[in-house]
Symmetry: C2
Subunit: 528 residues, 2 copies
Amino acid sequence: MPEARPGRGASRGDIEVNGAESLMRTAAAAGIELCLANPGTTEMPLVAALDAVPRMRAVLGLFEGVCTGAADGYARLARRPALTLLHLGPGLANGLANLHNARRARSPVVNLVGDQATWHRPFDAPLTSDIESLAAPVSGWMRTTRAAAQLASDFRDAVAAATAAPGAVATLVVPADCQWETGSRPQRVSHPVGLASVDAARVEAAAQRLRDGRGALLLGGDALCEPGLRAAARAAAACGARVFCETFPARIERGRGLPRLERLPYFPEQASEALSGFGSVVLAGATPPVAFFGYRGGASLLAPAERCLALAEPGEDSAEALDALAQALGAGASWPEPTTADPLPTLTGPLDPERLGAVLAAAQPEGAIVVDEGATSGGSWWRCAEQAPPHTTLTLTGGAIGQGLPCATGAALACPDRPVISLQADGSGLYTVQALWTQAREGLDVTTLVCANRAYRILQIEMHRAGVAEPGPRARSLTDLTQPTLDWVALARGFGVPGARVETAEALAAELAKARAEPGPRLIEALL
Amino acid sequence: MPEARPGRGASRGDIEVNGAESLMRTAAAAGIELCLANPGTTEMPLVAALDAVPRMRAVLGLFEGVCTGAADGYARLARRPALTLLHLGPGLANGLANLHNARRARSPVVNLVGDQATWHRPFDAPLTSDIESLAAPVSGWMRTTRAAAQLASDFRDAVAAATAAPGAVATLVVPADCQWETGSRPQRVSHPVGLASVDAARVEAAAQRLRDGRGALLLGGDALCEPGLRAAARAAAACGARVFCETFPARIERGRGLPRLERLPYFPEQASEALSGFGSVVLAGATPPVAFFGYRGGASLLAPAERCLALAEPGEDSAEALDALAQALGAGASWPEPTTADPLPTLTGPLDPERLGAVLAAAQPEGAIVVDEGATSGGSWWRCAEQAPPHTTLTLTGGAIGQGLPCATGAALACPDRPVISLQADGSGLYTVQALWTQAREGLDVTTLVCANRAYRILQIEMHRAGVAEPGPRARSLTDLTQPTLDWVALARGFGVPGARVETAEALAAELAKARAEPGPRLIEALL
């Protein structure tokens, strides 16, 4: 039987290791500590090499979208990449939707995909397919390794591409023989290309636009970090501007004591209306806002191009630029803190989206990470969470549903000391429900709150928006999740996660308190 | 609010309908009766149009891989296409793995993917991506509609491409505005291009090779229908050839009274050995056999090219060619039926893969459809099923795991009067476990038998084959499905399917009898 002899131990001489180990040793030297894997036969040498380096955590996902979504969530918190490890074209395909979200979040991800041995590829064996064609739409960088001796340097280039500001998905396709044949010495990964500074002229141009008091700031990306938010609040106070954040930020800091901003509405008419009164829209970390979907007779741009001005684009240091803007506008060192609102009330009675949001906001501990894929059930929580203790929110950047549970998994892997709350629409949660098992296996402190309205509610709204006042029975059946109803508590138990079902505000509060008190994952199905 | 006014009723004049309805009316006229859908906002006019035609069944999958795998299973039984309806690039991505399997099965599938409105696409809204790049690797035909008036004719071309022998995945990308703008008259789909006849010279060439009594026949694709099998058995009896089937047939008829053949082994050394003694390997419906994976020092071709001869290629009428071959070899009208084996014994005691296979084979009713994604647990069943009543088997053509439960769903939709048995490895089953809900909603008579060995057993074998005698703890953790154990009965309950867990042969037999007696889906978790 052929032997690949992957090495097990970094002590052996450099020239002895195979390609797979040269890659893992390069990864370890670059400080990469997590591999989110759903491997197959063509990745066996890479799997074996995981044990050849110290401090590499190997986490199994039962579906590839769990791995890629977790890599996204991890990157948003850790601000450095994890590895994924996927099996050929179909394995990559299963991970693409959450790589799409990662791409839109500009999350650094090093996406490793095994392939057939180089010499076996032309024979078109059953699992062979065009991996590069599949990977291209989600990848900011992509390469297929041609020889084992090049694998470490290809990997080094992948890490550099993933981590260069603002961050990207870098896909490296690794044929099996390039893993098992003799590799090179591990390669040193250079310090990542950081955020670029914005020059003074651009800052002054933005300040000039805002001085008339008729401007708005639209923040996105890195501008939504705490320094960026504080600088934006100071600048806005100095010139009377309103401050918005993009509809689906990759990561935003919110809660008591933090500057408040308005979220750009989801539906384009409302978003256009929100931006319509401003002479200028100054963008920091955000791209010019466009409608999520085009509707008949509707516009694509939510603000005319001539009224938008980029202070800092993605990849530029928007927090620094906002600070410079505040100075240019003569802002003080502080900003007007919002008047302290009344504490969130203790609610009782049957749950609805309004009560659910308020109960969750009142219960969430300081420092929580909330992954919001609540969809139509999440709006109330977003509003109420302004009054919650400071916390970090991650949202559905690319619109590819099924991001929440995996992203929460990755966030918990990045921040084991912070509680993670996964606010999850029921329809969306089913796409990657296998993430619950990874949470159980890794003992992650994730509380999944399923908003069980038992419908694709957003599609019922969109059907109406499309002019279909009374959908026929077939159309109705495609947006309805009853018949049969889903039992989320049973699903959670099936994956090894304890759960409970609640129908009232007080029961939800009690279950959230229990989840907070107990370690490990828990699921709460909230009937709406 | 803009109105799309999709039509509801075929009675209105042709010129009034929108593009979506022109497509559905074309589909209905072509005899297409099933749409497997997981739609989103950009597909709402197509969803509304489902109610505009008679006899179009709309079936919801909670994950796109359920829809595409069901379309594959439906096509293998019905021998005509269903529609899929997927949402943009990420929705397609989630369905790609099972489209890969469908491509390898040469199943006719009309794969509809919505896209942003043509005028909105350039603005790169969050859900926008390069759909054609994603679709190309699985599509035998692909087009993006440019205008509503062309949608019906584009769809007509898609159906023609999907149904031309031997069958293909035809992907039509449909921008939202091409659905809601005014469409054309429905288009008539011409009769599909059928299987091509093989000329006499090719038959005689094959006969000449086989007359020395040192040949083998390798059957695949359409040759594995009952007439093909009978013709092959007659030809083989006349010349002393051995008859093999490809390792992973899309569909094969087996059981008592049907000709028996040998299955080409999965591991390449064994497959090469099985074919090594033959002077010629005559292919009917099968392509030259290649190793599933390349191994260090291993071969790609399982039989030297100069020893292979194609009697009938995919797309040619291999059953007809085999009949002509039998005549050329002077075969009689009948073939030597195998001696009747002893009936399968009644087994008791703890389950293992051997007992599981024997119990299932003994229990399966005549006319059953067995979808075999049993992986390492399925070999015993394959052997025992020779003695079972006549039945149809579908296998994992493309190696993209997660095919079983959706394919069984589609088979049951195609053949409501036949019992469907889904022989399912536990690891593979988790990729598309959401199929259980569709089985429950549609009341499908599917019995899912989960082979719960709680491991990716094949990868444990492959790790050993890769020369890793003692994997480290990280490598081991990636092939192990304990910690926590999965509770398949709870998962099934979560999706609305009743289930039971068994640990002995007699308990399995009792549960199979119960499943057969009761309508609707059922799941049996067999602990191995």
